[in-house]
């Protein structure tokens, strides 16, 4: 998250709501280690990444739902053969666990 601080604060100063998605766990082969993070603001702008680009689109959708209050902060799993969470997957065959929550702390 270190590399996101400047963008986060720019958004905060502009009064934007922000959600943070963080990789908390990986099983098997995952492109980014726990701690990799991306931030999404209420306009759908994104900084950072949590995978090699495989799941970021779905994470933005999830983050926006959480910002709108349609969903609670939660753990989300993405995997190669995981069709329940989203119809996206990692091409590397691993599973990543993300925690997505609003930056209200």
């Amino acid at each position: 998250m270190r590399e996101l601080l400047n963008d986060i604060e720019r958004w905060q100063q502009a009064g934007k709501q922000i959600a943070i998605a963080r990789v908390v766990d990986i099983e098997g082969s995952g492109p980014r280690d726990p701690g990799a993070a991306m931030a999404v603001n209420e306009d759908g702008e994104v900084v950072g990444s949590v995978s090699g680009g495989c799941v970021e689109g779905a994470v933005v959708a999830e983050a926006l739902e959480i910002l709108r209050g349609d969903k609670q902060p939660r753990l989300v799993k993405f995997g190669y053969s995981d069709d329940e969470a989203f119809a996206v997957g990692l091409t590397c065959g691993g599973i990543i666990h993300l925690f997505i929550s609003p930056l209200n702390w």
Partner: protein, 272 residues
């Protein structure tokens, strides 16, 4: 007790920017999902996970994690129980402990063209880069704007002042080619716990350097085995930039214990 008694983010950001070790603790599953704490050494933990005992125990564990620069998920009972028997039939609280430790350090000795390229690549990898050379005309900020510090100094004073701070995550790269400078730099580096010591020079230079090191009493095979010399992976690097890649590639491979073949020519998982 309120779960959000204060704003943690500004304090978190301030500590990260000041390179103060800090753990960001988040409940990711269980009661009080999203509750957070900030934990740094020698200061009171901030925030709460909802239960006093849980907060106390997680803060204690987080301190260990931040000192080891480790990030991961840990499981607890609702009041911080950690033994497997206590966790049977109780709902578990899953806590993500993210450690923000100061960046790894790279000291580069010798203010040469290879230094500029290596400093640039090391910055990409997140190192705090210090360039050191005894020659005032070469060791200038102008020549190494990408470095965090440019020091005009002989190696020995730098090692005696700051060598104790080097750990297994850090690197010392000696690019001077000048025995006057190389020998005390190698001597200084060997007296620290630094994880990587690379020394530039041809095989011939290396052989001569070994003689000079022997003259100052460095002969132990264990000590000499710590030296990566000639420095870098065998990827046919020619330019300063290519050489820089071969050096940081070697640093990564030494840290992960890999032999650095091409992935195509090896088996097994890419990430271990």
């Amino acid at each position: 007790m309120s779960l959000k008694p204060m704003s943690l983010y500004p304090i978190f950001a301030e500590r990260v920017r000041s390179n103060i070790p800090v753990a960001l603790v988040t409940v990711i599953d269980g009661p009080n999902i999203g509750a957070m704490m900030l934990v740094s050494p020698s200061t009171e933990a901030l925030g709460t996970l909802g239960d006093n005992e849980l907060s106390r125990i997680v803060a204690r564990d987080a301190l260990g994690e931040v000192e080891a620069a480790r990030t991961g998920v840990r499981h607890y009972g609702p009041q911080g129980q950690t033994t497997p028997e206590d966790l049977v039939d109780t709902p578990t609280v899953r806590v993500f402990i993210e450690a923000f430790s100061p960046p790894p350090i790279m000291w580069i000795f010798g203010a040469v063209d290879f230094t500029a390229a290596l400093a640039k690549v090391a910055k990409v990898l997140g190192y705090y880069v210090v360039v050191c050379d005894a020659r005032e005309v070469f060791a200038t900020r102008r020549r190494f704007p990408m470095a965090d510090e440019v020091l005009v100094s002989w190696p020995s004073p730098l090692f005696s002042d700051r060598g104790h701070a080097l750990t297994s995550r850090d690197a010392v790269c000696i690019l001077t080619h000048d025995p006057k400078f190389d020998v005390p730099a190698v001597q200084g580096a060997l007296a620290t716990n630094v994880g990587y010591i690379g020394v530039m020079g041809s095989r011939k230079t290396h052989a001569k350097r070994l003689e000079r090191l022997a003259e100052v009493g460095i002969t132990s095979a264990d000590q000499l085995a710590r030296l990566m010399s000639p420095i870098g992976l065998d990827i046919g690097a020619r330019t300063p930039e290519e050489t820089a890649i071969s050096i940081v590639g070697e640093i990564i491979a030494r840290r992960t214990g890999r032999g650095a073949p091409s992935l195509r020519d090896s088996d097994g998982p890419i990430h271990k």
